[in-house]
């Protein structure tokens, strides 16, 4: 039990409790001690030393992020000597950091820049040698630039603690210390799942997505191409943040309009193909439930999760749904069904996916997903990238008049919208599976047990007198916990949803950076983005995938029925075990 205590900050007494660190207590009292490596969802690193304070009776400064408060503690956060020490520490970071703010991707949205400004570093005293490393451009999704790295270790911690992938670590010592994958292997050859959480938490531009904006601008100017965009559910829930709007404002129709201004000929909704996914996945689940295939069935929408399962859980591959992700389903039907409709050569179609995700860039080039030898998704740009493109092209997303998606793949059910939030795929699948199995409509469709940000969520429901047990995990670390349990007790669940990123797609590695008053991975922000999607769902009259008229149409006109031969060719795929560098043995990962 926490005890009430009195501490003194800068000479004045304050009430607080003894279960807090100095930083937490100070935060509650309105003293925001400067900080850099600290992140509330990650372990305490104590590395940057920016958050130092003076505590009377202690010989040295004390890192406020790590030190607990105690009764009568006399803390000083702002003495002359301390201000200078803190300033000098931040200058030391700057002295070993490129001075290219104006040409940096994170200019005006960089934590180090903001920190240096608030420290009042107007002159440099200690300049000297600065590091020089090559950028690692090998990954399809993530660019690593060690020159910009300030060694705060957030990426290392998010990758090991939140994601349990352990793709990154510190190497070498002293001034030569650098964060890199094991053996300094090219990122493409490592266990990196391309989830992009390192980008989200990086305070500088040491990790950024592989940028495809210039390529897209060029292709948008190509008169020979039919330019088609699709937008993932979570993009509309977050893109406003990049334009200064608060988290949770949904910008669906504005984004459609803005993309048309950018030069796209057609804008389709990935929520449509999410509905399509549900049709196929729910049918597949029912087949497995009837004995055709392994249970529990595990979802396959998340590209980071797919790489993860291939390298860490090859034994569970037969359990993974053969369904492609909504993005790849959409691209496949764009280049077949839709190409046919508009009578165009699929080779002349540019299929662009606007995604909240960096791993989708990896998914797009997976050879298994090609259709008739053609890559179905030609380019993937993240929410961040597309927001930048809009700004660059002078498109005012905030004030633009909204427009509707194009037919015949623009209508979606509420079930498709909630795909972006953790638990959403499961909820959507249940809505349809229930009806496909029982022939009755599930009335109580909001399944609260599997909503929200708990790491692992469980639910059960009765379908035709049979109890179906489901589980949901988001973030690859939670997935690890859940699947470890499944490995021990395979009969525990029937259906499992896994999303690679914390919060699901709304917390994807391609979403807008945290602004001035927020932090990356902020639970409040993730909740609001998810709430925007649940709001879309609530406001729809059609909330079950199989009721979507566009879906009914595509089955009627083209696919026939779920799991048909055409479906199998276009909408399903296969996965295989992979052994990249740096696989951590299970017993070490278990720690």
């Amino acid at each position: 039990m926490a005890k009430d205590i009195t501490i003194y900050i800068n000479g004045k007494p304050y009430k607080t409790t003894d279960d807090l660190t100095i930083m937490q207590a100070a935060d509650n009292l309105g003293f925001r001690i400067p900080r850099l490596c600290y992140h509330p969802q990650l372990s305490i690193e104590g590395a940057c030393r920016v958050c130092i304070v003076e505590v009377e009776g202690m010989r040295n400064y004390c890192a406020s992020c790590a030190y607990p408060v105690s009764e009568g503690m006399k803390i000083h956060t702002d003495t002359k000597e301390l201000r200078r020490a803190r300033r000098d520490i931040v200058e030391l970071i700057l002295d070993n950091h490129p001075l290219d703010c104006h040409t940096c991707e994170r200019d005006s949205n960089c934590e180090l820049q903001r920190l240096a400004h608030s420290m009042g570093i107007r002159k440099r005293h200690f300049e000297g040698e600065a590091k020089h490393y090559e950028k690692d451009l090998s990954s399809t999704s993530v660019v690593r630039d060690p020159n910009k790295c300030i060694l705060c270790g957030r990426c290392v911690r998010v990758c090991s603690e939140v994601q349990r992938v352990n793709a990154l670590g510190h190497a070498y010592r002293g001034f030569k210390t650098v964060v890199m994958p094991a053996y300094n292997a090219p990122f493409s050859e490592t266990v990196c799942t391309a989830c992009g959480q390192c980008i989200n938490v990086c305070p500088t531009a040491a990790f950024v997505e592989k940028n495809h904006t210039q390529e897209l601008f060029e292709k948008l100017n190509d008169p020979d191409l039919i330019k088609i965009a699709q937008i993932a559910p979570s993009v509309r829930a977050a893109i406003g943040e990049a334009f200064g709007l608060p988290a949770g404002r949904q910008m669906e129709q504005e984004t459609v309009a803005a993309l048309r201004r950018l030069g796209f000929d057609y804008v389709f909704d990935t929520q449509f193909s999410a509905d399509l996914t549900i049709m196929e996945e729910a049918s597949e689940f029912l087949e497995r439930l009837q004995g055709k295939g392994k249970l529990p069935m595990i979802t396959s929408c998340s590209s980071a999760w797919m790489k993860c399962v291939e390298q860490f859980y090859p034994d569970l591959l037969p359990n993974v749904s053969t369904c492609k992700s909504p993005m790849s389903m959409m691209s496949a039907v764009i280049k077949t069904y839709f190409a046919d409709k508009i009578k165009k050569d699929p080779k002349k179609i540019l299929s662009v996916a606007v995604m909240c995700c960096t791993a989708k860039k990896y998914e797009a080039v997976r050879p298994e997903l090609m259709v008739d030898g053609l890559q179905s998704t030609d380019l993937v740009v993240t929410t961040r990238e597309v927001a930048w493109m809009m700004k660059s092209a002078g498109i005012d997303l905030v004030h633009i008049k909204g427009e509707k998606f194009d037919e015949p793949m623009g209508l979606s059910s509420g079930a498709g919208a909630i795909f972006g939030a953790t638990g959403g795929v499961m909820e959507a699948a249940i809505r349809t599976a229930y009806e496909l199995y029982t022939g009755e409509t599930l009335l109580d469709i909001e399944i609260n047990d599997i909503r929200g940000l708990a790491g692992i969520k469980e639910g059960r429901l009765m379908i035709d007198g049979k109890e179906i047990r489901v589980a949901v995990a988001h973030g690859l670390g939670n997935a690890y916990e859940l699947l470890s349990a499944v490995r021990k007790d395979p009969g525990r669940y029937h259906f499992i949803e896994i999303m690679g990123c914390p919060g699901g797609c709304v917390g994807g590695g391609g979403q807008p950076y945290a602004g001035i008053n927020s932090i990356p991975l902020d639970a409040e922000c993730l909740k609001r983005r998810a709430e925007a999607l649940y709001g879309i769902d609530r406001n729809k009259t059609i909330r079950r995938s199989h009721e979507n008229p566009d879906i009914q149409r595509i089955y009627k006109e083209f696919l026939g029925r779920p799991l048909s031969a055409v479906s199998h060719k276009l909408l399903h795929t296969h996965y295989s075990a992979k052994e990249p560098l740096g696989i951590i043995p299970a017993e070490i990962q278990a720690r």
Binding site: I44, R49, Y61, A63, Y172, R173, T177
Partner: protein
């Protein structure tokens, strides 16, 4: 025939007064009574043994049993028990014969050893470290037997606390308190760790202890494990110590074989296992949290404390971590008692400390002295001064992150507080003597280079700050320093000391700050006069040819830049603008005609 026993009787004045002469005749009568010929037992009268307060004193060898206040009525018992049955009469033996005495009985008449006091190193050099029997013959594992049979864990901790022993790894944290804190924690599993990751360049006390007396470390750890309730010990030793590793492995095997390790040690309820882990040679892994990370299989990087290892250490379990030398003191404290141990040393620093004496000193080597010995005694008595008649300039204590102390501090007693007060540290016991041929700027640069290279790279002040300090020092020694550089060094150094995450960073600026304080004139000379008085910083002195030159031309031949000119048999001249200070001419001259100025 070989004599079986030698009985030595002190016939110094005090013992004489206490009737030692009469004792002699009683002894002879007794020997005759038992028909013990003189061939088997020799009676020897010695000069004063110096233990006058215990007189009359009688020593029976072999075994060096000292009997004090011997009365005539005791003699029959002594002959009966000790000579006939080889069982010394414990009741009459003098108890103050401390473990370390044996060492000095053998080596004490060498001046180098005579001023020392060897507790941790008591057995090094006198027993065969690979034979457990040798260790047993010097009361080995007796302390363990004693705690397992007579003393509760709480009492063991009480003894260690009372002894005043402090951590010998450098920081000087009270050992007993550490034991108490770890014992207090409730946990299903606890660990004991021996820190043998000796990283200071030139320091080798931990290696020597393990190489010379591995069992004492094992015994200490067992006692520690018993005291805190741990069942497992780990020795973290650097892989560059192959002999030490080999010996400790053999010692562990022998201890298991003889029942001093494993299940139910000495038929008690206490079980304890020890295994070793090899360190890959990172200096920072001597820091306890980094060491723990390394054992866990992670990169050796420190983490902020609290929680301390006593609460959450190895694999998150309460862990007691002590240095080799600390462990080696434990059996002695148990056997000879806390009172005796705490009678050695100063008020706050008890016992002895081992130092690796190195640098410009006549007797380099391993030295164990009581706390409170002054630096002067260390350097001039034990070390026998500076070689080649050179002048003493400074002494650096505590390894690469210690401070450099000038002559005025030579009477500083060696203990934790006194060294800290004058800007240095005890450290793990490095001691480097510096003479007038060394440049203090260069010294500071050298040590900082080491700590910068060995910084784990985690915290900003240590990683970036020491690099900037090193750049400034390099600038100064290249003659490019400006007066503001000294302020920058002080500003950075003070900040790094106070803001760094672990002890490495917190002490890394010490060599710079202490030389800035004690040898500021040398820094100023480098900056303002562009001169290095020790002729070490290459850019800051010139080679010149003086009139001793016979014109042999040897210098001219080796000069790579043709900076030397002169006719044969005429004095040569160096053209300074061409000279690159390579020093070839200096080495080539056989007539001492080339001077550094």
């Amino acid at each position: 025939m070989k004599k079986e026993y030698v009985i030595t009787l002190c016939d110094g004045p005090t013992c004489m007064r206490n009737r030692s002469k009469e004792l002699e005749s009683v002894i002879q009568q007794e020997l005759q009574r038992h028909d013990l010929q003189e061939e088997r037992v020799r009676i020897m009268l010695s000069g004063c043994l110096g233990m006058c307060s215990k007189g009359p004193v009688m020593i029976i060898n072999p075994g060096y049993t000292i009997y004090g206040k011997v009365a005539e009525k005791d003699i029959p018992e002594i002959i009966q028990q000790h000579i006939l049955k080889n069982q010394p009469v414990a009741r009459l033996a003098i108890q103050e014969d401390h473990l370390y005495n044996r060492f000095f009985r053998i080596f004490g008449d060498v001046k180098f050893f005579g001023k020392q006091m060897r507790i941790a190193l008591r057995n090094c050099g006198i027993i065969d470290p690979e034979k457990i029997d040798d260790y047993l013959s010097v009361r080995g594992y007796e302390a363990l037997a004693k705690v397992l049979t007579e003393i509760t864990p709480q009492e063991v901790i009480g003894v260690v606390k009372k002894s005043g022993l402090r951590g010998r790894g450098g920081a000087g944290f009270p050992t007993g308190l550490k034991w108490e804190l770890t014992a207090k924690e409730q946990s299903d599993e606890k660990f004991v760790i021996c820190n043998a990751d000796e990283g200071d360049p030139g320091a080798f006390m931990d290696r020597s202890t393990i190489e010379g007396d591995p069992h004492t470390v094992l015994e200490g750890m067992c006692i520690g494990g018993y005291a805190i309730g741990a069942k497992k010990g780990i020795i973290y030793i650097r892989a560059e110590y192959p002999l030490a590793i080999d010996r400790i492995k053999k010692a562990i095997a022998a201890a298991y074989e003889n029942g001093f390790l494993g299940a139910n040690i000495l038929d008690s309820n206490f079980s304890f296992d020890i295994e070793i882990r090899l360190g890959a040679g990172a200096f920072v892994c001597g820091e306890e949290t980094a060491l723990i990370h390394s054992i866990e299989g992670s990169r050796g990087m420190p983490r902020p404390r609290p929680p301390y290892p006593s609460v959450a250490g190895l694999f998150g379990k309460p862990t007691l971590i002590n240095n080799v030398e600390t462990w080696a003191n434990i059996p002695v404290i148990i056997l000879d008692g806390a009172d005796w141990f705490s009678s050695i040393g100063t008020e706050k620093s008890k016992g002895t400390k081992v130092f690796a004496l190195a640098g410009k000193i006549n007797n380099t080597g391993l030295v164990e002295v009581p706390m409170g010995t002054t630096l002067r005694e260390m350097i001039y008595d034990i070390g026998e001064g500076i070689p080649n008649g050179k002048k003493f300039k400074a002494v650096q204590t505590g390894g690469p992150s210690g401070g450099c102390l000038s002559e005025e501090y030579l009477d500083t007693p060696i203990d934790y507080e006194s060294l800290a007060k004058v800007g240095s540290i005890m450290g793990s016991g490095g001691m480097i003597v510096i003479d007038e041929d060394s440049c203090m700027v260069n010294m500071a640069k050298f040590f900082l280079e080491f700590t910068q290279n060995e910084s784990c790279g985690k915290c900003t002040p240590c990683r970036e700050g020491t690099k900037r300090m090193l750049e400034i020092l390099t600038r100064i020694s290249a003659g490019k320093g400006v007066p503001a550089d000294l302020d920058k060094l002080e500003r950075l150094g003070t900040m790094i000391k106070k803001a760094s995450l672990c002890g490495l960073g917190q002490s890394a600026p010490n060599p710079v700050l202490s030389t800035l304080k004690n040898f500021r004139d040398e820094y100023e000379e480098h900056i303002l006069k562009k001169h290095c008085r020790a002729h070490v910083c290459k850019q800051l002195f010139n080679y010149e040819i003086v009139d001793k030159c016979v014109g042999c031309g040897a210098c001219k031949k080796v000069c790579p830049t043709e900076a030397i000119s002169g006719e044969l048999k005429q004095q040569h001249v160096i053209t300074q603008s061409k000279c690159i200070q390579c020093g070839n001419c200096f080495k080539a001259c056989k007539f001492e005609a080339i001077k550094k100025v």
